[in-house]
């Protein structure tokens, strides 16, 4: 019994020496930049988002993919738009950088993120392409009308 106790306490001491308590207690908090244009509140409480963000994103993913529902609140792009912002040097880093908002925690927790194998890992609002469907639709109407005139002759 005492032998067993001794062994356990030895193991515990060993563990404590291996991982200084500081290292266990301190979570490297990622820098959360002031979100642009959306106000500073996240879409849910911080605690809720820390634990369950993946469920929100997964649910939204299937809704968007299969039903074409494109509300922004729980979309991955909304997360990225707010949380991935230029650093002090003015660079917007990619998801493989430890400064990236998602990667900061995921690296710490050793959970691999697959999202960015396909999805944009940085906001793209600056390169958004504007479409001008209305003007083009009107142009098309004129062309078709001209074609009809040709038919009538």
């Amino acid at each position: 019994m005492t032998k067993c106790f001794l062994r356990i306490s030895l193991i515990l001491t060993g563990l404590i020496m291996l991982f200084p308590t500081q290292g266990i207690a301190e979570t490297p908090f990622p820098t959360i930049h002031e979100p642009e244009g959306h106000g500073v509140e996240c879409v849910e409480d911080e605690d809720e988002m820390r634990r369950n963000h993946m469920n929100y994103i997964l649910h939204q993913r299937d809704k968007t993919m299969h039903e074409g529902i494109r509300t922004e609140t729980y979309s991955l792009s909304r997360c990225i738009d707010c949380h991935v912002q230029p650093n002090d040097k003015g660079e917007v880093v990619g998801h493989d950088d430890k400064e990236h908002f998602c990667n900061a925690c995921h690296q710490y927790a050793a959970v691999q993120i697959d999202c960015f194998q396909c999805h944009a890992d940085r906001p793209q609002k600056y390169i958004k392409r504007a479409s001008k469907p209305q003007a083009l639709k009107e142009q098309l109407q004129e062309v078709l009308a001209a074609k009809d005139m040709g038919d009538a002759q």
Binding site: M65, E72, C118, A120, S131, P133, K137, Q141, A145
Partner: protein, 245 residues
């Protein structure tokens, strides 16, 4: 239930569109105004998106639609033309007897009875309610059965790691992809990038719209002048139709 709501909403809106469009040109309807879908509304089978391509207006050397699509989806190549992804390509048809040559853009034909969906072992290839044939890349295992099954060679496999994707066109290594009819645009009441480019450059060879709406430009045009399916013998009831073949 939701279909009923959609129906009445559509009827109401299309009446509004009729009233609005009379001043533009009598008998011509800007269908897309009638179809406007809010972001939280699911797509429904009331709509079937389609495209009509007039090959007489499509010139041989022109690649405006292809360029626009590549740009829209950030389809950067790796200088390997046989395997680089393409959603749309230009195809030339030459009639042997006369030497008459037709040039046309070829992309996913959004078949109603889609062979790609039939063969997909995972359910990644699917038909959306509004007629689009899409790949859910979250599920796709990259087996490429769908590529083999597609009679139009419409699909590509992503062989390499991709970086700098655009926000609206997620794409990555190990999955199959093809023309999405620019689903990200049409869900926001826009028109496909290829159609936009073709019209913007004043070729006007492509019309996009709702085949289920008898008043839409595309349905009216199909009714008046017809439009053929490529490989109609396969009876896939394609969403993309061609004139001048």
């Amino acid at each position: 239930m939701s279909d009923q709501i959609n129906d009445s909403r559509r009827n109401f809106l299309s009446k509004a569109a009729i009233a609005g469009s009379i001043t533009i040109a009598p008998g011509v309807f800007l269908h897309q105004t009638a179809q406007a879908k809010s972001d939280d509304q699911a797509v429904s089978s009331n709509t079937r998106w389609g495209m009509l391509i007039d090959t007489d207006k499509c010139s041989k050397g022109c690649t405006d639609c292809v360029d626009a699509c590549n740009n829209e989806h950030s389809l950067t190549g790796f200088d390997r033309p046989t395997t680089d992804a393409q959603y749309i390509r230009k195809v030339s048809l030459v009639e042997k007897q006369t030497g008459h040559e037709i040039s046309l853009p070829m992309m996913c034909q959004h078949c109603e009875t889609a062979p790609c969906v039939d063969v997909c072992p995972t359910g990644a290839s699917f038909k959306r309610e509004d007629g689009l044939a899409l790949v859910d890349k979250h599920i796709c295992i990259g087996c490429r059965y769908c590529m083999m099954a597609c009679p139009y060679k419409a699909r590509s496999f992503v062989h390499e790691e991709i970086k700098n994707q655009t926000l609206s066109a997620p794409r990555g290594k190990g999955t199959v992809e093809s023309c999405t009819m620019c689903v990200h645009r049409i869900d926001k009441d826009g028109i496909p990038a290829c159609v936009e480019a073709c019209t913007e450059e004043n070729h006007n060879a492509m019309i996009f719209g709702d085949l289920n709406d008898p008043n839409s430009t595309i349905s009216q045009e199909l009714k008046k002048h017809g439009g053929k399916q490529i490989r109609a013998d396969l009876r896939l009831n394609t969403g993309v139709r061609y004139q001048g073949l």
